[in-house]
Symmetry: C2
Subunit: 244 residues, 2 copies
């Protein structure tokens, strides 16, 4: 049996939403170029770049980031296996942010030329790729609600819920346990908090018995309580089947 092609996690995610024909699977599979390894801490894409391809995550964790002139860093989305980190660059052309590997990653390029051809020949697949970027937007909105309206503990709880469901959908997580190779500094840059406060809040969640978190391994002990604390509603992740 040959190894699963690297595009598989994307096809699986799409197949949760709509029927993908064999022809479409073929077209997607042909999209990706040779894989490449990116070590933790290295940037996949720099802000201001004008890439001629979009980057697909085969494995690992990365994050979109924006640096502020005052030395701050905001992570605006975590991307995992099965995600494109910059599909929007096909249309934005110039990157409005960068992408950094949070852990060692394997990624593969999809040439914009090929993506553009795909939009000419496969309208249904185009809508499904469009949906990928639309879900990115929905995730951003949800984080806006978190940053604007929720306190530190709720934000952290929300993030854990989101990541678990997304990883589970990608077939990477099961049984309320997953690997999350992010430092507390990274978490702070996601949640708009300092590392110190992330630690305080995380210790609290541990003391309350909601989660365990040790050396990059997360276990959710009380899913319902975490959902309540994070006011988490998964509609925005669009994991339901609903043909486009």
């Amino acid at each position: 049996m040959s190894p699963a092609p690297v595009i598989t996690p994307l096809i699986e995610k799409m197949a949760r939403r709509d029927v993908i024909t064999p022809v479409e699977r073929e077209a997607l599979a042909k999209l990706l170029g040779p894989t490449r390894r990116v070590p933790a801490g290295k940037a996949l894409v720099e802000p201001g770049d004008r890439p001629h391809f979009s980057t697909f995550v085969v494995s690992g964790f990365c994050a979109r980031f924006t640096l502020t002139p005052t030395g701050g860093r905001q992570l605006t989305e975590i991307n995992v296996a099965g995600d494109f980190v910059d599909l929007h660059s096909l249309l934005m052309r110039q990157m409005d942010h960068g992408v950094v590997a949070l852990a060692d990653c394997v990624v593969a390029p999809a040439a914009h030329e090929d993506l553009r051809r795909l939009t000419e020949q496969h309208p249904h697949l185009t809508r499904l790729l469009w949906l990928e970027t639309v879900v990115d937007g929905a995730i951003h909105r949800q984080w806006l609600v978190a940053l604007g309206q929720q306190n530190a503990a709720s934000r952290l709880a929300h993030l854990i819920c989101e990541l678990y469901l997304r990883l589970e959908a990608a077939g990477i997580a099961r049984d309320l346990t997953f690997s999350l190779p992010m430092t507390q500094v990274d978490l702070g840059d996601v949640l708009g908090l300092t590392q110190v406060h992330v630690n305080r809040v995380l210790m609290d969640l541990r003391r309350q018995g909601l989660v365990e978190w040790k050396s990059g391994q997360v276990t959710i002990n009380d899913w319902d309580a975490l959902v309540r604390l994070g006011q988490f509603n998964p509609v925005y992740l669009r994991l339901q089947s609903d043909p486009v």
Copy 2:
């Protein structure tokens, strides 16, 4: 001379980014149904709705919102003439948020059925519509940076800069002056601040001579200072010409 069709502000915005052929203009113009008035304060779309059309703003101001169980409200984007408020519902199907009129609005529907047909027949136009949703995502990201990393004054300054450029691109604002019919409560719900603090910060900007703001009319007195304070970089608005 007949009145300009209601789609005009969208075509103008798109034409800044790429060449739109007469055939494409025609296809876009046929998309919109009969206009409808929505009074200030009323919702255009409710969270959880499954609309069979997307709503286009012909004139007025509206905002995407999410309500929290604790009674909070976060506005995640301001939409103005020439914007779709829920183009993504074509693909998301279920609304992850609502849309409310901040001032009296005139809006028009674009049936999902027609939009889907457009994706089958007009790949280039499809990419331009896709770009509209991608820019929404970029705006969300920028607001995430604001909420996560900037203080109250910078956030407000950033918002004013963004709105001015977007309104100017839509042909609604000129000479650093524009109408902005939002209350300080609305502003607070955008910026993740209380009305009280919005007022304090706004008074500060006024005292420093950066902006005037009276009865819904904004005048920017010192654009450069406002850009500096808000750490504003307009790349994310994608107002440059760059064919897709």
